[in-house]
């Protein structure tokens, strides 16, 4: 066509190409930034990883004076607080999602759903301050003495619940984390529960099922993979959460069986000590910790995403 030789049309083609390249470059930028983050931390932490090797992951010494660093306490603290958080958050989030989709009167669903989502909007440093100044004293005065007396005497699990009721420690941090991830998990669950076709639920109701039976035998099997995805999404948050945990964990580098004792987590160690790191091996150890955290959360979030995609694919979304 002769038209394409017209200056205006050719300008359009060039501009089109330019626009396409610009947006493609931005897309590639997003794609590359994640691996760049991983590589830069691996590079920053190489000194520590080379010096300590596997010992970095298996020893508990964290001694800036003698330049000996082992990440076991921090890794243990991260895993334990995240586990406590999930034990609290998963059943509660499931309950909230059931409430918002099946149990509550219709007029309550939107306002209460928005209120729960408000929890997700509160900055994590606010959770930290509240945890340190309000929650921890309340727990150490009213709850932990009771836990000490009653659960501390249990035959096997006892040592988990013994120790001075300081208020700061793994259990408090796990509780705060649990509260923080509730809105994330419950909003995913609520959304996927709403994707269950009404005719499936209605068929079950028509056969005489109770609401609970519809949830347990129809809704949950239909949404299983996405529900697991939502849980992993919350787990990813809990593992990497920094400020809230830093306030209430107590910053102690000792491995202790008790959940009531102060401890540390990967993120809290980095936040507390980064500006104090006075030697290159110290700094490198902290960055290596960051790399470990990155790898762990990447795996957890990738599982979450794959699980969520499964339901989407079936939904044809």
């Amino acid at each position: 066509m002769g038209d394409s030789d017209a200056p205006d049309a050719r300008g359009g083609v060039t501009a089109d190409r330019l626009f396409r390249w610009t947006v493609a470059a931005a897309g590639i930028f997003v794609l590359v930034s994640l691996s760049a983050a991983a590589l830069s931390m691996l590079w920053g932490g190489r000194e520590a990883l080379q010096t300590f090797g596997w010992k970095f992951f298996t020893t508990t010494d964290w001694d800036p004076v003698q330049h000996k660093f082992g990440a076991l306490v921090a890794i243990y603290g991260t895993l334990v607080t995240a586990a406590i958080a999930m034990i609290i958050a998963v059943p509660v989030s499931l309950g909230i999602a059931i409430f918002l989709t099946e149990a509550a009167p219709r007029w309550m669903r939107t306002p209460i759903g928005s209120a729960i989502e408000l929890l997700a909007g509160i900055p994590s440093i606010i959770y930290g301050m509240w945890g340190l100044f309000v929650l921890a004293p309340a727990l150490s005065e009213h709850v932990y003495p009771w836990i000490n007396d009653h659960l501390g005497a249990l035959p096997l699990a006892g040592p988990l619940f013994q120790g001075p009721p300081l208020g700061l420690g793994l259990l408090t941090a796990g509780l705060v984390l649990g509260i923080m991830v509730i809105p994330f998990i419950s909003s995913v669950m609520r959304e996927v529960f709403l994707t269950v076709p009404a005719r499936l639920k209605e068929s079950a109701y028509a056969l005489g099922s109770t609401t609970w039976e519809v949830i347990w035998d129809v809704v949950l099997p239909y949404t299983r993979s996405a529900v697991i995805g939502g849980i992993f999404l919350g787990l990813g948050r809990a593992l990497g959460e920094t400020m809230a945990v830093t306030f209430v964990l107590g910053n102690a580098h000792d491995l202790s069986a008790s959940l009531l004792m102060p401890s540390n987590s990967i993120a809290a160690t980095i936040a507390n000590e980064f500006t104090e790191a006075d030697s290159s091996i110290y700094l490198s150890s902290l960055i290596a910790l960051g790399f470990v955290l990155f790898v762990v959360t990447f795996v957890v979030l990738a599982i979450a995403k794959l699980m969520l995609m499964r339901l989407q694919r079936r939904e044809g979304m």
């Binding site: 089109d16 409430f99 209120a115 929890l119």
Partner: protein, 285 residues
């Protein structure tokens, strides 16, 4: 009672129990929300005063305000938005308009979703090794870049989703008139999805307003007033962190006042974002 009746009673009991537990779980969630907000409001309001907005952050034990911290937070947040939004919109456009069903599009969306939920402390460390180490010192610019990496995936996601909501007839109608694709995108599609993208930017701003962890390794803190973005700069979250952990009463009250203002700001922003989205929904119907 026959066996059938007993079974029926058991099923009804189970149902009642489950629904009661669902109510209890919701009350449990709301309980913490109310407690945290009440603490923030009551502690914050009792420490509010005009000096907060007129005086600089004080020396240990002294009283003062948060003026330099507010300025620093505003500067870095705006810079982060200014950096993250254009790249985010462009990348979102790439996903929705050019790579929607391609392999690279799927992978990029996947990576973006991971970035969206990645711990912010990790992004802070990334920018530390990338910018702070290269420059040799902490700076507000590094802080803004770290926050920009938090803004980016939020904007990419909303842009992508909003553009895909635009009916394809609109694209086809414009293209059939001979309008080049870049003009279709910038002048028609962006206009149609403007309020959605704006919501994304507002939500991103709400998210970075309270971000603390990445700023610890990038912008650090500064007790004094500075407008030089190549120098460490005070910012509200890090000041809250430092002052709350300190033993001084005057510093702790400043931390509570700062916490109250940040929380109010974040909640108002998310409310505003919802309103923008809602108005658009009503407008479309």
């Amino acid at each position: 009672m026959t066996a059938v009746d007993r079974l029926y009673a058991k099923r009804r009991f189970k149902n009642m129990l489950a629904l009661t537990l669902a109510w209890a779980a919701t009350v449990f969630g709301l309980f913490w929300l109310v407690w945290i907000l009440w603490t923030t409001f009551s502690m914050g309001i009792s420490h509010l005063n005009l000096a907060l907005f007129t005086k600089m952050t004080p020396a240990p034990g002294d009283s003062g305000g948060l003026l330099n911290a507010f300025f620093g937070s505003a500067t870095m947040s705006l810079l982060a938005i200014a950096m993250g939004t254009p790249i985010g919109i462009a990348a979102g456009t790439f996903l929705a308009e050019y790579a929607n069903h391609s392999k690279i599009g799927t992978v990029t969306r996947f990576v973006n979703d991971i970035l969206l939920s990645a711990p912010s402390i990790v992004l802070g460390l990334f920018v530390y090794t990338l910018v702070v180490k290269t420059m040799g010192h902490f700076s507000a610019l590094a802080g803004a870049i770290a926050l920009g990496f938090i803004v980016l995936p939020v904007v990419v996601r909303t842009t992508d989703e909003m553009l895909r909501l635009v009916p394809s007839q609109m694209r086809e109608a414009a293209l059939s008139l001979g309008v080049p694709q870049w003009k279709v995108t910038t002048q028609i599609l962006y206009r149609a999805s403007m309020s959605g993208i704006l919501t994304g930017v507002l939500l991103a701003l709400a998210r970075i307003s309270g971000e603390t962890a990445p700023l610890l390794f990038t912008a650090l803190n500064n007790q004094y007033w500075t407008t030089n973005i190549l120098q460490p700069m005070a910012n509200v979250p890090v000041v809250i962190f430092q002052y709350a952990m300190s033993p001084y009463d005057a510093w702790q009250s400043l931390a509570w006042a700062g916490a109250f203002i940040v929380t109010m700001f974040v909640l108002l922003l998310s409310l505003l974002a919802r309103l923008v989205l809602l108005r658009n929904k009503v407008g479309n119907e």
